[in-house]
Every structure is written in structure tokens, then in C-alpha cells.
Amino acid sequence: MDTIVAVATPPGRSAIGVIRLSGPQSLDIIRALIRDDKFTPEPNRILLKKIVRPSNEPLDYALVSYFEGPNSFTGEDMVEISCHGSPVILRQLLDLIQSLDARLAGPGEFTLRACRNGKMNLSQAEAIRDLINAQTDAAAVQAARQLRGELSIALQPAKDKLINIIVKLESALEFVEDDLPDVQVKEMTRELAEVRRTIHELASTYSSGHLLREGLKVTIIGRPNVGKSSVFNRLLRLERAIVTEIPGTTRDSITESVSLGGIPIFLTDTAGIRRAGDKIEEIGIERSQRAMADADLLVVVIDGSTGLLPEDLIVLSQAAERRHLIAVNKSDLPEASCIEDQLSDLSPVVHLSALTGEGFENLTTAILAPFATVDTEGVGLLVTDSRHYDLLRRTESSLEGSLVDLRDGSSEELVLVGLHNALRFLGEITGETTTEDILSEIFSTFCIGK
């Protein structure tokens, strides 16, 4: 077994960054890092150590803990190094450790090792995944549905049709001496295209399903003093469940997590954007722009009582290329002029008052509208799992290959290759087979080192 390494903390700048090692070389590697061949730490204790570059310059002062297998998370010898949370330092340390014969861990590999070493079984691993990922009620409902096999049930008709086609082609091959009806290529092509469409439609729910699982990043922008923070706070108050403050954000913008209509929303309030007057403001604006770049949706706040100002137009021009909607705030005050008439923008416009709360229901609907193509709390089944999505896509492309073979007049055994592959992929979802890959893929849904 080789030794694996990964950064255990989320990417980005933070106070500390943790690097985790697991495998028989763990202790040797830390010895090399701190230039102490005899270093034999007591397990489960935290020690402050100087980490040295190959050039002999110090890289960082870090807290080092050693966990002796089998009494560790993975069941192997493990070392955790908590250094300062600079991405540069973490990157350099990671490179250094890799040069000492450790391998960068694959997704979920720490958990896989824990499972291999009997520290965890599959059901526990799945339970952990669901626990971690069920961020909102709606996501929990979807997770429970998939556990109950609703995706399998939804796939069943398509699977049956596929099996039916396979049966026809197989029997044409196997029972050549029997008096079987000829394969009707045209009809089969139509049936197969239908199966492919079903799979495709189910796969297309992934963007909505994915949303349920991963959440939606919404960033509020606007020139200063239009009431961005009031809108932000009002949105947070809409739902009793304010989950957590998201760590690692800058002081200039604040991100909170909230559930809107059952969808987890990461709501970011940014510094006001205007033409930069001085250096410091420039930096703040730059950060706002970065927050904009990450967002799935921008909410541009405009003060309805003042009407459109040139600075609003700057903000709108910056948002133009991205998915956005316009919130005209302060509807409790008389509107200066009809904002809609002045906008060349075709994005949705919502009138609201952060003060009275008027119009926030419309805002919620408008935020979710472009994403929630399917009623997330209703009956529609959504594909939320990236593994399922991947398998559906592969099923679809296998079926496409078979359709091409059918069109080209290839012999049945070639058409069948794609059909059997499609069935294998579907079988992975309907849960009829379990493979190492499924295990690995399940573990892949964990963050590394969690």
C-alpha cells in the first residue's frame, strides 16, 4: 500500500490549512520534512515543528500530529500537518511531500482506505454521505427517494424497452435456423430513439437536481446605498433556518447560507460598486467582482426612489454578461420614474421594499425560476447524484453509438455492443450490481479527507 496525501481543508486562504498523510511512509515523510531522522512522536499529540525546504530555508512552522495505525481514521499510520492557511504554502508543502514518494489522494480515497481496513462499511459510508449532503429538507426528500429506489422505478420502463430491443436482436442472432420475424430496423430505431430520449430527459433534470444538492450561489450587487444589505438581511429573515456563516470569506463581502423554496442558497452581499476613487476602494471593488464571477445568479439592486443613476448603469453593464435579475428597492417610497422604461436589459425586474418586506415573495420566485425547471418539492424526480448523472450520460452515448450502427446497417452483434453497455450503465443505477467503481464513486462524493 502506498502513502497518499491531500489538503484536508477547503481551497482558498484561511487561518490554517491542514495536510493529511496516510500510509506506511507517513512517519518517514514527516521526518524528512522536519529534518529529524529519529523523530518518534507519541501518537495523538500535537507538536510544533519547523518544516524545511530542500534549499534549507524554512517553509513554515506547523503543528504536527501523528496517529498510529490501526487507531486512526483510515486504520493506517497517519500524519496531519496544520500550517498557515496560505494556498502558496500549502501548494509548496504538497509538492514537497509528493517528491518524498507520497501520491496525491484520489477523491474519497481516505474514506476508501477506512472502509478497506474495516473502519467503516459501505452502509455507514453512504449514511455519512447523505448526512453531509442533505442540506435542506428538499434535498433530504430527494435522497430518501433515491434510497427508496424511485430513480430505479423511473428508469424501469426505459430499461424494459431496451431489454426488449436487445431480446429481439439477440434472438435474431441465436435462432437463425428458426422461423423468426425479421428485425424491423425502422421500428427498432424509433424505439431506441425513444429510450434515448427518456434517458436524456432524466439526465437533464440534473441541473435542477444538482442545485438541490450543491446549492445556488446568489450574489447581490449594486452601487452603494441602494439597500443591498437590507435586501440581504431581509432574504435571510425569510427563512427561520440560517444554517451557518461560511468561513473563509473576506471582510468585504459576507456569505450566508439560507434555504429558499427548499433549495440551499449561498447568498453573498458585496461591497458597493462604483468608479474607483482611491486604492482601497479599488481593492473592495475587485473583490466584489470576484464574488460576481463565482455566482450562479446576480441580483442587481437599484434604488427606485432615485431612479437610474449613471453608477447603476456601470453595475448593470458589468452584470450584462451574466445571469441576473434586477431588484428595484424602496417600493415603499414613491418611484422617481418608471425604471423598466429606462432599461435596455431584458432580465426580470422585481419591485420590493426591504423595509416592509413587500415583493420578497416575487424575488424568491424570480431567483429560483431560471433553475427550478421542475417543482422541487412536488412529485417530479430529479437526478441529484453526479454518479447517476454520469451513468445516464454514458447510457445515452452508448445508445447513440448503437443508433449509428443501426443506421449504417452494421450487423446485430455490433449494434448490441452499445445496447449491452447501456444496460450495464443502467444496472449500476438500478442497483443490481455493486462494483469497486461504485464504491469509489460513492467515496468520490466526499470532500477529500473529511
Binding site: 439477440e170 442472432l173 452494421s410 452483434e413 455492443v417 453497455n421 450495464r424 450503465f425 450490481t433 461504485i438
Partner: protein
């Protein structure tokens, strides 16, 4: 050995059918002193049902048997009277050779092949019991009281175990019509604790050829260029005959439906499960009632006989009624039945009792091959016989057992299916049972298996040399296909594009061209450079083209299967006690113990094993300290 025996052998093979013949021949040629014990030496190699060898997937098995050094292919080539390559219009992987054989000649040829095998001794008699000491087989007991000692026994008893023949309401015990059943041996197996089930099969009436109006039927010729089963056969020397195709009528269907109460199948008299893919005529007209007519084949049984096999008309209706029914078939108005059809029920032993070497888990040195394992078909029986014979000899000599994998052979697919899943109807091979169908072609069986045959010692020098020459010719041919381009300026270009109705650009290599649907070996042969085309045989070219055609598909499929199953190769430690695994239900433990999977992939394929059980097993397999 503590008991006194009349004769001593290394290996005793019980049964002289297709499994028994291969088993005895292989064991003897591998240096084991071998006895083949059969009820009648005159019926060695008897084709109990239709007089034909091969067919889709079955033909693959025969070629694999031949590649390993078995005898069925050679005997069939010497006695075949109509050769046809089936599925010619389809891709090479699903084409399969089939031959009608002269039933009597086949028997004679098989017997003389065995009689000319050193180390092999034929004995007539009925085996009634097995001698077992401390979980090891040590010999057999004969009906006449003789005891024969041996370190290994292969049981290849066919339909004889507790055989019960049905025609109408009449039943009688028999192994085949006119031959005694093996009642005591069947009881002995039960006594030894083997789980025994009941299967059923059937056979149609045989007609007197002189009473058939042949002109009423559509004739079917064999191939002009017969493709032999054996890689060693250079020419097919038997005179070739025609077969004939006819049809049933609605009146016939009506009559059968009216008389179903006479059929033991429908009266509840037959308990055994018959094969769905080989239904009796009663089943056909009941289950496919809307079908206007059913196809029948008239297959002459040989050069020197008037007997004709009425393929497609398997029945267990009363003999007198069969005569009436046959006469309702156009062209058979005057036909006389020589032997009536019948159904037969027989015992089989759950093949999940066996390891991949076909040895019983329960009793070491005891091997089962053929219908006793729930299979049907001569080819299915023969390949098991070969494997059992090879492994019985290996067992006696202390050599490593031969084990064939699914991805390298149909034999591997068949054995794996049997021992993993058992059977609930007579098991027949199909190409669709093979995940790697495209790689398992009848024409590359030598490439896949010759090496094993050679290593075992079943493939002689001249066959080995022949294999190497063919291999070299094909590899040269592939280089030529890659290097030769068909250009716009070539005379043949226009004709080829017209055939394909497709633009081929300025030039295309023959390798790429040959992958297009509609291009066959004959056409490619004409496009080869003049210097080479004269020396190339169609057979070699077809193999080269088939390799070329499927290479991309096989690779893509491997990627898919590996993506899904890349952990399948993880070994499961031999001594692993499944009961010690966390959280495994009693039922899961039982399933695992019955199958004794050697790899995680095998475990994954055990029906009914839950994902959680597999996850636990997977962890255990990875935890095993003695992992390589």
C-alpha cells in the same frame, strides 16, 4: 486403498456419450491409466437426439474443444454429411459452423478413435455405486459385483440417471428409448448428499425416408466450401447431402390442441423442467397459438440408412397419435414412423456443487460432466467432458488444474454459469451468454486456446507447427491490409464506391475499407496486391479481417467493463471463513459458501448477494494479510 479391487485405474469415466468420450480420451492421453465404463460398447458416441454437431455458439464450443486438443471436431469432420456456416450474413463473431453427421459413422469413428488411444480401456457394464473413503473417491462398484479402483472418477451419465421415458400416458424407466436407466447410481449420489433435481427433454419421431414425398419440401444445400470444425482438418471427404424444410398446418395444430390431455406435458405427469428454447410441438401450438405454421427440418440420418430425423417435431404424445399427426404435414401424407418421439425425465446434480475444474466440493477426485450438470447438447457435454478429463488427470498426477475464463472461451462461460448460478432449466450455450462475444470467434479459437492444449500435452507437434504457420500468415496479411491503399485512380475504386454508395475520399487503406458494412473477404481478396492475392486463403483473410473489424469495439467494451468492474480481479483468500465477516446474514453466508468465489468479480455475480454483503466481503478481501 484398503479394499480389494478387480481392476485398478487412475481415472474411471462413467458413460460413453459425448462428455465421457472426451473425458476418457483426454485423461488417457495425459498419461492417466483410464477406463471408460459404458452400458453398451456399441453405442459409444451415440447422438441421442438430432444427428448434427455445432450450431450457433455450439459450433464455437466444438472449435474450442479442438483447439484444446479434444476429439469431437475431428470425428465430426470425418463423418459430416452436410456442413453449413450459420449466420453468414452477420458478423464473424456470431457465425458458427454446424454439420449434419452420419449417426452410425460418427459412432464407429468415435469408438475407433478411443480404441486407438494408448492408456485407454473400454469396459462394458453398469456402475451402481461409488467407493468413497474419507471424503475421497476411490473407485466404482459395477452391477455384476466387480469393483474398480481409481483415484479419480468422472460421471458423465447423460439422461440415464433415474431416466423415465414418456409417450402419452405410458411411462417406463430408461436411459434412452430401448436402454436401461441408471437407478442405483442416481440413488448413490443422493445418498452421498448431492442435491438432485429433475429435468426433462424430448426428441421427435424418426421417419422412413422411402415414405416421404421429398418434392413437397424445399431443399437446403450445405455450403459449397465446407468449413471444418478441426483446425487440423484439411478437407471434408464425406459425400454431402441435402436437408429439407417443410411446415406444419393449422389442422395439425387444431388436432394437437384437442388432444392435449393425452400429452404427459399437459396432464401434469411430467414434473421435470424442459428447455424453453427447444419446445415440443405441443408447447409450440399452445404457447404460440397465433402462429400459422411451424417450420420443420427433414434431416437424413446417414448415407446407409433410410431413417430421417423430423427436426422441430419433438413430442411425447402417444405413439399411435404421432403417426396420425405426422401424416397431416404436407409431403408426409404417406410417411411411416420408424421410431416414435418421446420425452425423458432424468436426475441432474446441482452444478453449484462443483469448482471451476468440475470437481465436486463434496468429494475430492469426483468430477461431473455433461447432462448430470443440467446442460443439454452434445457440444456442451463434450466440452465439460474434456475439461473434467483434463482435470481428473491433473488431479491424479498432482498437476495444476485447467481453468478457463469467461473472457477467453465459451467453455469458460458455460462452466462459470453452471457453477455460479446453477440451472433451472436445461442449460444451453448462447453467444449472448458471453460478455466478450466479439472476442470469442469460432475462427480464433486456436489463437485463444491452442497454447493451453499444447502446455497440457494434448496438442501434437504437427498441429502446433500448423498453428504457428497460420498465425504468421495472418500477421503478415494484416500488415498488407494496413499498407495497401485503394486509390481513386485504381480501376476497382469506382465499383467499390458504388457497392457501398459512399464516398471513400482520395484513397483508403484496405484495413479501413474492410470495416465498412457490406465489404466481405471475397471483395478484399480481389483488391490485394497481385503478388500476394494468389497465396492468400479466404480463411486466413477472414480471420485477419475479423480481428480488424472488432478491435475498436472490443477495446471500448473492455473500458466499460473495467470501469464498472475494475476490482473484479481482487482475490478472495481461499481459507476465508465467511461466517467471520461482519454483518453477513446466514443466507448470504450460505450463498457464498456454496459458490466459494475465488475473485471479488465472481462474488459480485452471485445472484441474491446484497450490496452490503459485497461491501463487507470486499473489505475482507482487501484486509487479507496474504495478499500478493
Amino acid at each position: 486403498m484398503t479394499m480389494i479391487c478387480d481392476e485398478l485405474f487412475d481415472v474411471i469415466v462413467v458413460g460413453g456419450g459425448h462428455a465421457g468420450c472426451e473425458a476418457a480420451s483426454a485423461a488417457a492421453r495425459l498419461g492417466a491409466l483410464t477406463a471408460l465404463v459404458t452400458l453398451s460398447l456399441d453405442l459409444i458416441g451415440q447422438m441421442s437426439c438430432n444427428p448434427a454437431i455445432g450450431g450457433i455458439a455450439k459450433g464455437h464450443l466444438v472449435r474450442e474443444i479442438d483447439a484444446l486438443g479434444g476429439i469431437m471436431g475431428r470425428v465430426a469432420d470425418r463423418t459430416g454429411i452436410q456442413f453449413r456456416l450459420l449466420n453468414r450474413s452477420r458478423g464473424p463473431a456470431v457465425q458458427s459452423p454446424r454439420a449434419q453427421a452420419d449417426r452410425a459413422l460418427y459412432r464407429t469413428e468415435m469408438r475407433s478413435t478411443l480404441e486407438n488411444t494408448p492408456n485407454l480401456h473400454l469396459r462394458q457394464g453398469m456402475v451402481v455405486d461409488l467407493l468413497v473413503e474419507k471424503g475421497k473417491v476411490v473407485g466404482v462398484v459395477m452391477q455384476d459385483g466387480r469393483r474398480m479402483g481409481s483415484a479419480a472418477v468422472v460421471i458423465a451419465a447423460g439422461t440415464f440417471l433415474n431416466g423415465l421415458v414418456h409417450t402419452g400416458r405410458r411411462t417406463y424407466t430408461a436411459g434412452r428409448a430401448g436402454e436401461p436407466a441408471s437407478i442405483e447410481l442416481a440413488e448413490a449420489l443422493k445418498r452421498l448428499g448431492f442435491p438432485v433435481g429433475r429435468l426433462k427433454t424430448g426428441t421427435p419421431p424418426r421417419l422412413d425416408g422411402r415414405s416421404i414425398d421429398w418434392d413437397a419440401f424445399q431443399s437446403q444445400d450445405g455450403d459449397e466450401r465446407p468449413i471444418p470444425f478441426s483446425f487440423s482438418t484439411e478437407s471434408i471427404d464425406q459425400a454431402q447431402i441435402k436437408c429439407y424444410i417443410g411446415y406444419t398446418t393449422q389442422t395439425l395444430h387444431e388436432t394437437i390442441r384437442k388432444n392435449l390431455h393425452e400429452s404427459p406435458l399437459y396432464s401434469g405427469q411430467i414434473k421435470g423442467i424442459g428447455p424453453r428454447y427447444c419446445p415440443s410441438i405441443e408447447d409450440k401450438v399452445v404457447k404460440f397459438a397465433d402462429k400459422q405454421r411451424h417450420q420443420l427440418f427433414l434431416e437424413p440420418e446417414g448415407h446407409d440408412t433410410n431413417e430421417v430425423y423430423l427436426n422441430g417435431f419433438s413430442t411425447s404424445l402417444p405413439a399411435a397419435m404421432q403417426q396420425d399427426l405426422v401424416r397431416m404435414i404436407p409431403g408426409l401424407e404417406e410417411a411411416r414412423i420408424v421410431r416414435p418421439g418421446y420425452a425423458i425425465e432424468y436426475d441432474y446434480v446441482d452444478p453449484q456443487e462443483l469448482g471451476p475444474d468440475l470437481q465436486c466440493h463434496r468429494i475430492s477426485g469426483l468430477f461431473h460432466a455433461g447432462q448430470i450438470n443440467g446442460t443439454t447438447g452434445y457440444e456442451e457435454a463434450a466440452c465439460q467432458g474434456l475439461l473434467a478429463g483434463i482435470n481428473a488427470a491433473a488431479f491424479v498426477k498432482g498437476r495444476q488444474a485447467l481453468r478457463l475464463r469467461r473472457e477467453e472461451s465459451y467453455i469458460g462461460v458455460l462452466v462459470d454459469d453452471l457453477i455460479r448460478q446453477g440451472v433451472d432449466e436445461p442449460y444451453r450455450i448462447f453467444t449472448s451468454r458471453a460478455e466478450y462475444r466479439l472476442a470469442l470467434r469460432h475462427d480464433n479459437a486456436d489463437e485463444r486456446l491452442r497454447g493451453y492444449g499444447r502446455d497440457l500435452g494434448l496438442v501434437g507437434d504437427s498441429d502446433w507447427e500448423r498453428f504457428h504457420q497460420r498465425r504468421e500468415r495472418i500477421s503478415k496479411l494484416k500488415a498488407i491490409l494496413r499498407g495497401t491503399r485503394l486509390r481513386k485512380s485504381d480501376a476497382a475504386y469506382l465499383a467499390v464506391t458504388e457497392t457501398l454508395s459512399m464516398d471513400l475520399g482520395d484513397s483508403i487503406s484496405l484495413e479501413d475499407l474492410a470495416r465498412r458494412p457490406g465489404i466481405n473477404a471475397e471483395l478484399v481478396l480481389r483488391l490485394l496486391p497481385r503478388a500476394t492475392s494468389g497465396t492468400v486463403t479466404i480463411a486466413d483473410l477472414e480471420t485477419a479481417l475479423a480481428d480488424n473489424l472488432y478491435a475498436g469495439y472490443i477495446k471500448a467494451q473492455e473500458t466499460v467493463i473495467q470501469r464498472l468492474n475494475h476490482n473484479d480481479a481482487t482475490p478472495i483468500p481461499r481459507g476465508l471463513d465467511f461466517r467471520t465477516l461482519n454483518g453477513l446474514s446466514h443466507e448470504m453466508v450460505e450463498r457464498l459458501e456454496r459458490t466459494r468465489p475465488i475473485t471479488f468479480g465472481e462474488a459480485r455475480n452471485i445472484p441474491g448477494l446484497t450490496a452490503a454483503a459485497l461491501a463487507n466481503l470486499y473489505v475482507a478481501a482487501n484486509l487479507a494479510p496474504n495478499r500478493p
